[in-house]
Amino acid sequence: MTALSVEGVTVSFDGTMAVDAVTLDVAAGEVLGILGPSGSGKSTLLRSVAGLERLDAGRVRWHGDDITALPVHRRGFALMFQDGQLFPHRTVEENIAYPLRIAGGRGGSGRGGAGRVDELLELVGLAGFGRRRVTELSGGEQQRVALARSLAARPRMLLLDEPLSALDRELRERLAGDLRRILVDTGTTAVFVTHDQDEAFAVSDRVAVMIAGRLVQVGTPAEVWRRPGSAQIARFLGYTTVLEGAAARLVDAGAPGAIALRASGVVVADGGQVAARVVRSTPAVDGARVRLAVDGIGEVDGVAGAGLPVAAGDVVGVRFDGAGIARLGGSSLGGSPVGGVVASRGAADDSPFVDGARA
């Protein structure tokens, strides 16, 4: 069942288009990740859904009802910011109880305040932190409190704006797992904005890729990962090289069109598929990152294992690893992929939640 519908939403600032006619559906209980480089308009799109931006065009619907003109505080959504935005003058407990008090004042049903706060603290793994001042908390703890506060009033939908980006890597990975568990356990419909693919793939049911204000691809994490819609999307996802035609088929014999390569997909190996000359070699923890001139393909990035020392000028064998290779041509929404459109089981074609962003 479609919960949220975004229809042709357009937002511009002083003449610059931030969000350009984006159309998107989110199903009830689904976690949708909006993935895009910084400045792609993904946060603005999220803020538009929350009601914090004035739309130049388009509508936002909730279960079919037009809520475009509904003020922020009546939408019943919650928005969690990158840096939490906890109220510095309130304790952890008071921050989490804040939306409960509002709900209590409004409908008279602020169900058991203290109990709910403890329950939420438990949920985010901060039992016993209620009396602390929020300024004493670490960044990770603050984000957990912000999440608890956002969930407190049982929002109809949770919006998260880069909720983990301000944290260090290890913590981010751990919290991404926690976040996914909490959202699924509570059955919360959520839209989640990030520039980090790992984070998006770890947390989301579906991923929407946004570049320069436009929605360019929507699909499950695996679909987007394995079949980027265009060279641009592939590059954003960390693929370093895009190959077409004969070069592409040399790597992936069955490739119907263009393919994209990550460094991890090009491995220096004894007796590999093709020969290559090492242009440059940079040591890495697990061996070396290399730049290779591959016969019939050209220069690509690759990796060499620790057991196989290489130096510039060496001629080596190269093996291609399927995990680091993607075929382009997934359901792109923003134009034709490099190498022509390929018929595929693209997400957009059979997903009930996605419409083409542009006519």
């Binding site: 803020r47 929350a50 009601g51 914090l52 004035r54 003020p71 922020v72 505080h73 939408r75 019943g76 959504f77 919650a78 928005l79 910011f81 935005q85 109220f87 510095p88 003058h89 309130r90 804040y98 939306p99 509002i102 709900a103 409004r106 506060r149 956002s150 009033a153 919006l159």
Partner: protein
């Protein structure tokens, strides 16, 4: 809308209208524009001399304040030592001391038999200069210190590593970053000095004065309203120019990134010795007049004793006063409370409006203009305002001339810019997303304002109220015009007492000054406990 309307109406009726009415008297004769008054007034040698004196005096005092204030700001805001907070509190005291009290204190210090009587400075230009520096050095220390505290010292370290010596680092890295704060502080000091009234009136005698004291003399003694208003116009022009300069400097300053103060301070080193020495010397200089005042107030015709204080229950020799001094203190406190309430309500409403960042550039400019307009009472002659009240608020719909509300309103006007400058930076510092968080969590706009803006600004508001109260308590310029003879305030009584020397009157003036200073100090000490950095910074 109401938030913008109430402050606008208040400033319009009680500031713009009276000031414009005064100005109009200079420009219009019998309903036609006549600029002849300017030529006439400017041709007078006395006027020209006073204009030169005003500007020279203010410029010199500003330079001295900056030169002394910078090392002190360094010591109080960049060094870590015990008692730093207390010193910061002490340094702001002179700024809020009533002008009349400071004038009297300097008289006791400099006149024959005073602690520095041997220097023969009484009644000289130097005496006025000392008093102006005494008042305003705090403005530089607080304003520059507040900026300095948040500057990332790693920039200096980066310059040092690149091979710059300490002197070069100071001129190429530190000074440019402090420059906007210094400009802002210096222009405010210039403003205060060029419109100084009470202290110049007490110390200057007949030889020295400012445009401000001249306006006072022209209106009250020579009844030459035309000349007075010509001077008011000229003062207004200078004040507006300076405020624009200060506002521009403030704008540039807010663009800088602030770091946590704890990262930027260091323990005193040998290189800090000169700055520490300057700080100690200035501390002694700031303490001297007060010590002198207190000592002298305990000195009676019969030797040491509390005689002067006991006399405060009476009305002075030759019945100098209409009411006993204690009654005047009661009046002062009561009026200051009313003034504080008015200044807070208006100042808070105005700050809440100005702190908004509307999308439309036109509205943004309008708000910036409103912000600037609120600073005007800081520099426009209190005498002009006071006299403007008398000539405009004497007819319907505002027949308030004999009403007791005039004095608190005038004092509130003087305190208003200080309230706004204390509250507004805190409000503009609130991350907009904090308000959005509250809204998204279900708070309607009124609740967002209460739970975010008002909650965060609560301490600064408390500090601003103490500050406004202290300033209202000591206000002399406008009050001297407006207070009714049967309900004088303490500063008015003190001025009256020193104007009629003989008998116990001077001693009483000293005792009354000590009482007024003590009340002010007590309030500021309480307020400083709130640790609001924006207080007294411009």
């Amino acid at each position: 809308m109401l938030g913008a309307g109430v402050p606008l109406a208040f400033v319009g009726v009680f500031f713009a209208w009276p000031v414009l009415a005064m100005v109009g008297r200079g420009l219009f004769v019998d309903g036609t524009l006549d600029l002849g008054g300017f030529a006439d007034v400017l041709a007078r040698p006395r006027t020209l001399r006073l204009i030169g004196l005003t500007i020279g005096q203010a410029a010199l005092a500003s330079v001295i304040c900056v030169l002394l204030g910078l090392p002190i700001a360094h010591v109080l805001y960049r060094l870590r030592f015990r008692g730093r907070r207390m010193l910061r509190a002490l340094v702001v005291l002179p700024f809020v001391l009533p002008t009349v009290v400071v004038g009297v204190a300097f008289r006791t210090l400099l006149r024959d038999g005073g602690l520095l009587g041997s220097l023969r400075l009484d009644g000289t230009f130097a005496a006025i200069m000392l008093a102006l520096v005494f008042f305003n050095v705090a403005v530089v220390v607080r304003t520059v210190g507040n900026t300095w505290e948040g500057l990332d010292s790693r920039q200096e370290e980066a310059a040092r590593v690149l091979g710059a010596g300490p002197v070069r680092v100071w001129f190429t890295v530190t000074l440019p970053r402090l420059a906007p704060a210094i400009t802002s502080a210096a222009s405010i000091v210039f403003l205060f000095c060029s419109t100084a009234f009470g202290v110049v009136l007490v110390l200057g005698g007949s030889r020295f004065g400012t445009i401000e004291t001249e306006i006072y003399l022209l209106t009250t003694q020579f009844l030459d309203l035309r000349a007075a208003s010509v001077l008011s116009v000229m003062q207004l022009v200078v004040v507006v120019a300076l405020l624009l300069l200060a506002a521009r400097a403030r704008g540039r300053r807010t663009a800088q990134r602030r770091v946590d103060a704890a990262e930027a301070v260091h323990a005193p080193r040998l290189g800090d010795a000169p700055a520490i020495a300057v700080t100690l010397l200035v501390a002694v200089f700031l303490a001297l007049p007060i010590v002198s005042l207190v000592l002298r107030s305990l000195h009676t015709a019969d030797g040491w004793g509390l005689g002067n204080y006991i006399a405060l229950g009476g009305t002075g020799s030759r019945n100098a006063l209409v009411v006993p001094v204690w009654v005047a203190l009661g009046n002062s406190l009561q009026i200051a409370v009313q003034a504080t309430v008015i200044a807070l309500v208006i100042g808070l409403a105005a700050s809440l409006v100005i702190s908004r960042r509307p999308r439309s550039p036109g509205l943004r400019r309008a708000l910036a203009g409103f912000d600037g307009a609120l600073m005007l009472p800081l520099g426009v002659s209190a005498v002009t305002v006071g006299f403007g009240f008398l000539i405009t608020l004497n007819q319907p719909p505002f027949d308030l001339r004999s009403s007791p509300v005039l004095v608190p309103i005038a004092q509130a006007l003087v305190a208003l810019p200080l309230v706004v400058r204390t509250i507004l930076p805190v409000l503009t510092g609130i991350d907009g997303r904090l308000r959005e968080s509250a809204a998204v969590l279900g708070s309607p706009p009124w609740r967002v304002m209460r739970d975010v803006d008002l909650a965060i600004v609560a301490r600064p508001v408390l500090a601003a109220s103490g500050f406004a109260f202290a300033v209202a308590l000591g206000e002399f310029g406008a009050t001297s015009f407006l207070s009714r003879p049967d309900r004088p305030t303490l500063p008015v009584v003190i001025f009256r007492l020193i104007g009629l020397p003989g008998g116990d009157n001077f001693g009483m003036a000293l005792a009354a000054s000590v009482v007024l200073a003590a009340v002010t100090v007590a309030i500021i000490a309480l307020v400083e406990r709130l640790r609001v950095g924006t207080m007294g910074a411009f």
